[in-house]
Symmetry: C2
Subunit: 304 residues, 2 copies
């Protein structure tokens, strides 16, 4: 009997408040249907694993659901796009109680509803033997007022900026962060952002990705890297800010003129820090507190 | 250093032949961009697990990739929609060699390329300790010549049909099946299909889903259920056809007049069998070889 599966699917469908004009087909059929009024959609998929991306026994299902959705919302922000909907698939350990799925749902919806992003479908499956919890979120977004902002657009002379503060996110922030969707959409209303991504593996690694894609290098000023409280409590605050990852802040570049305009007109609470400048020569170097210059080696988290 | 992850992402991007006019942004950025020329997209997500949906040591990475994509293509077929693209996320056991990802890619592309469905993004992550292989495919499709065919449209008097033959798919077919995309698109060119889904959990379970969604029941003729070779080799061929699941054939209903037209004009090799009729009274009953009538209890695979 498949009553368990079908009952849970019905429960999920009953919770949905996705408007029928935008989502003519929702949870419970073979696929969900999403209207695409802007001529294109953007798509991102991310798999989060118990023991790798969170510790389920500490975080619980609700916060695991929140983090999985928030990480995908952060990808929408990274391209300055508007979140539309998500489908979520989970692999459950044997004997996971149905209440766990309700907790999970609560976390998913809490994150999505911050930005009008609906849960429109999913898949629930269970390990046959031993197996830890895995959750996969795939999210669709649509372009905002500009073309989606790519990693590859950094130009020589661009100012390199980050939102918020960096480092030590693993202590707590990685489960509770607010994705920078509002910030990304607001900044692209004010100015043209040349390149952007979200910081998941630490800026030493993620900046290299922007540089590699754009064919440029960067000179950072270590004194300007914004340190989180958690980073400041560590033995190596700047190292934590550069390498810890999971900050889910925005890393972006724009012209010096654009930077001036952005700072003048910025009206959100989240701080923006100017941490360096894009240069022609490849590589990443950083000016330290004592005026010395060091080469930055990517030390962020490697998923493989 | 994240060279491993970035190198593999680059390798995946290099393999892509997704046309830039349809996919302005492909593998390697925070999201992929997909043009949506028909005003809506459909989305499905499915997580397949080693030990549950296949045995990786037997199937291998290539066939696991093939099956995961084929299962999602089967969902596109189930709604009579045209596959567009997919994003694929994987959770790898520790020490999975890079060659395994190339094998996986081969299987993914082999399935997708049958129907012009491009791989446009993904996520590669690894278990921190013990953990078996998991693969999640999310696929986008677009409407064909008709509205997407739902589960909920079965009408009293409709003929109930299936494509192909049923039962015993676990022996081999579940890894190698051809999704019925072509069949679904062709039949909806010929006639109006009132309800449809693909058979993943066995028709005893999947027919109940159509009946529940449509508020109807069905009388089957057990003598007309098409048995696969594998089913015929089993102790209970009809039971295998009803309950085994993983057939990935189409289960659909249409008016008697439509059925006549479909059979007259059907020009594909895949057989279509008339196995029963939709009735007003809920429940599923089946006429047996000896003329007796039995109530069908859903016995398909329950994922929970």
């Amino acid at each position: 009997m498949n009553d368990g599966e079908d009952k849970i699917t019905s429960w999920f469908a009953d919770q949905s408040d996705a408007p029928a004009d935008k989502f003519p087909i929702g949870i419970g059929d073979d696929m969900a249907q999403v209207t695409a009024d802007k001529g294109s959609v953007l798509i991102t998929t991310d798999m989060l694993l118990d023991g790798t991306h969170f510790d389920l026994s500490e975080a619980g299902f609700e916060q695991a659901g929140y983090k999985a959705m928030a990480a995908s919302l952060s990808d929408c922000a990274a391209m300055a796009t508007i979140p539309v909907c998500a489908v979520v698939a989970v692999a459950l350990p044997v004997k996971t109680p149905p209440e766990a799925l309700m907790d999970l749902h609560k976390g998913i919806v809490a994150a999505g509803s911050m930005f009008g992003c609906y849960l429109v479908g999913g898949d629930i499956t269970a390990w046959a033997g031993d197996g830890r919890f895995a959750i996969n979120v795939t999210m669709l977004s649509k372009p905002g007022g500009c073309l989606p902002v790519r990693r590859s657009g950094a130009k020589v002379g661009d100012i390199v900026c980050v939102t918020g503060t960096l480092g030590g996110a693993i202590k707590d922030k990685h489960l509770h962060f607010t994705p920078r969707v509002e910030e990304a959409l607001r900044m692209t209303e004010i100015v043209t952002i040349n390149s952007m991504m979200d910081i998941s593996d630490g800026i030493s690694t993620d900046l290299k990705r922007i540089c590699d894609k754009s064919g440029v290098g960067v000179t950072l000023d270590g004194r300007d890297v914004p340190l989180s409280m958690a980073a400041m409590e560590s033995d190596d605050p700047l190292g934590a800010a550069m390498n810890d990852g999971e900050d889910f802040e925005l890393l972006f570049t724009l012209s010096p003129k654009g930077y001036g305009k952005l700072i003048d007109e910025w009206d959100l609470a989240t701080p923006i820090s100017n941490i360096g400048v894009i240069r022609k020569e490849t590589g990443i170097s950083m000016v330290m507190k004592d005026g010395s210059v060091v080469e930055v080696v990517p030390k962020g988290y490697d998923h493989l």
